[in-house]
């Protein structure tokens, strides 16, 4: 009998084990829901699967009576738009400021402490300021995401840029590169996959800030909808929305990982050799 740490599940076993917790949760939910519904068939806390189906049918495949829109898709579109705008803007800021900070000591000296200070401000605490300054429109919500994750991304990119071996920067200079060329040919391409990795890590925070902003001031969006129907205790809508958001977050993460693997194979091969 091998030691426990040396026993590795096979492919099928791994798959089954991976699905198991999900199935367990479902079964538990079904049991609890059935028990509650048997006691009181109007119970709203743990709706049955048929009421989920009804809610999904209503939200996704029937036009809204008032606006004529398909609400789920409309909410999804506006949330994803805000999210990608916030993420994209943050990534761009991180790329520019982070690389400049990492490459040029005279940029780093004034900016690095400042950005560290900014990153320590709790973004939710200045949400009211954002609404006052940027109004209740799209901009405030996007800005909340940016203020929430950009400082983290900038600091991370700066750190990664500083971690690139000095030998490479020296080598580039002996090959005739000036500062700008070192940035575009040595630092930028090596930072990109690392930036993608930290964007993936910040996805959770980005969703958090998005939903918080939507909950407070919006007229559509996944977060807005959840907080709206909460008033009617509509668990049959809230739970499918939560599952949908989770699925979207997972897909986004997956796509970013695929892009990184496709565009920067040398980076992932390097990591693998380092791990072995």
């Amino acid at each position: 009998m091998k030691k426990l740490i040396n026993r590795v599940p096979g492919r099928t076993a791994r798959w089954i084990l991976g699905v198991l917790p999900f199935v367990l949760c479902l079964v538990l939910y079904l049991a609890a829901s059935n028990a509650r519904l048997a006691e009181n068939e109007n119970d709203k806390l743990l709706p049955s699967f048929s009421s989920f189906a009804g809610a999904i049918e209503r939200m996704a495949f029937t036009p809204d009576k008032r606006s004529g829109n398909y609400l789920l898709w409309q909410d999804t579109a506006s949330s994803l738009w805000r999210l990608s705008l916030g993420l994209g803007l943050s990534a761009l800021l991180a790329l520019v400021i982070g690389i400049l900070n990492g490459a040029i000591p005279y940029m780093r000296a004034p900016l690095s402490p400042f950005i560290t200070a900014i990153s320590l401000i709790p973004p939710m605490a200045i949400l009211p300021i954002l609404f006052i300054v940027f109004g209740l429109g799209e901009l405030a919500k996007v800005m909340l995401i940016v203020i929430g994750i950009a400082p983290f991304l900038i600091r991370d990119v700066q750190q990664r840029a500083l971690e690139i071996p000095a030998e490479q920067l020296i080598k580039a200079q002996t090959l005739g590169a000036n500062t700008w060329q070192i940035i575009v040919r040595v630092l930028f391409p090596q930072i990109m996959p690392r930036l993608l990795a930290s964007v993936r890590l910040s996805l959770g925070a980005a969703w958090l800030f998005l939903i918080a902003a939507e909950a407070i001031a919006a007229t559509e969006g996944l977060g807005y909808r959840i907080f709206l129907v909460r008033r009617y205790l509509a668990m049959d809508v809230i739970l499918p929305y939560v599952v949908w958001i989770t699925l979207l977050a997972f897909l986004l993460d997956y796509v970013l990982r695929k892009i990184s693997r496709m565009c920067y194979p040398w980076f992932h091969a390097q990591i693998q050799t380092a791990e072995n």
Binding site: E167, R185, V186
Partner: protein
């Protein structure tokens, strides 16, 4: 005129004197191999030539003018590792300096200009025997292939001076012999001046036209940092492989003593082993060098 002049050069880190009173002149086309105990300041010396370490006292002159205080294209370098760019293929790595030269803004070439650069780079890659690996990335290359790539990458820029810091330390003896041939032929072809640090004293004898031994001559047990290393030996050495020299003599052939006959060379070995002020240390060094082989 001398290419590099070292005038009463000192290097100190705080209280610690690393190098003291270096006085040497190096002509164009010389191949200088540097040996010395670990931690005696060989890399520090190379870094001063490279321009990444400052000179504490004295002067380091290139063509009679103080050496630029930052790395530049006239001085190529191959480090022990991290010398090639992991995000570029073999071709990309070698082409990089051509692209940087011709395209100041993007650092990239397109179309016809790219074709020309590719052709030049491919010749260089073939010269170091990496033709089969043209489109591979560094992580797909062995250690020896990476060092050959680093050499090709530096040499395509046609530096006047090539600095090598234990470039073959991590390679096995067979590959090392190949690399020796490669370095010698590139040295002659490109009329380089080479400074090469090695822990392998045999390699030092074999490759160099001059062998420098760095060692501390003064030592105070009460203050081990008070004195630095000097160049205690500056030996004219010839190449074991005389035919290489005969084929195409280096430009500085007049200044370089002709290849020494075998008997004499053995005498030089004895010299290093016996006739020195602090023999124990140097013997230790030689043993360490031989151990490396």
């Amino acid at each position: 005129m001398a290419l590099i002049e070292i005038r009463n050069l000192w290097k100190e880190y705080g209280q610690q004197v690393v190098l003291e009173q270096l006085n040497k002149t190096v002509g164009e086309g010389e191949f200088i191999t540097i040996v010395g105990a670990s931690g005696c300041g060989k890399t520090t010396f190379l870094k001063m030539l490279l321009g990444t370490e400052s000179v504490s006292r004295g002067q380091l002159l290139l063509d009679g003018k103080p050496l630029p205080g930052e790395p530049g294209p006239e001085r190529g370098i191959v480090f022990q590792r991290y010398s090639v760019f992991p995000h570029l293929s073999v071709l990309g790595n070698v082409m990089l300096s051509l692209e940087l030269e011709k395209s100041p803004l993007l650092g990239r070439l397109f179309g016809g200009a790219r074709k020309t650069a590719e052709k030049l780079a491919k010749e260089m890659i073939d010269a170091v025997g990496l033709g089969q690996a043209m489109h591979k990335y560094p992580h797909e290359l062995s250690g020896g292939m990476q060092q050959r790539l680093a050499l090709a990458q530096s040499l395509i820029k046609r530096p006047r001076i090539l600095l090598l810091d234990e470039p073959f330390g991590a390679l096995d003896p067979g590959i090392r012999a190949d690399m020796h041939q490669l370095v010698l032929s590139l040295w002659q072809e490109h009329k380089l001046t080479v400074f090469m640090i090695t822990h392998d004293i045999k390699e030092g004898f074999y490759l160099g036209t001059r062998l420098w031994v760095f060692d501390k001559c003064r030592f105070d047990p009460q203050a081990p940092n008070a004195y630095g290393a000097q160049i205690t030996y500056d030996l004219p050495v010839g190449q074991t492989d005389g035919h290489l020299l005969k084929k195409s003599p280096p430009r500085a052939a007049e200044k370089v003593p002709p290849p020494l006959p075998d008997k004499y060379r053995r005498n030089l070995w004895n010299q290093v082993f016996t006739n020195i002020p602090c023999p124990a240390r140097v013997i230790g060094l030689c043993v360490c060098g031989v151990g490396f082989v």
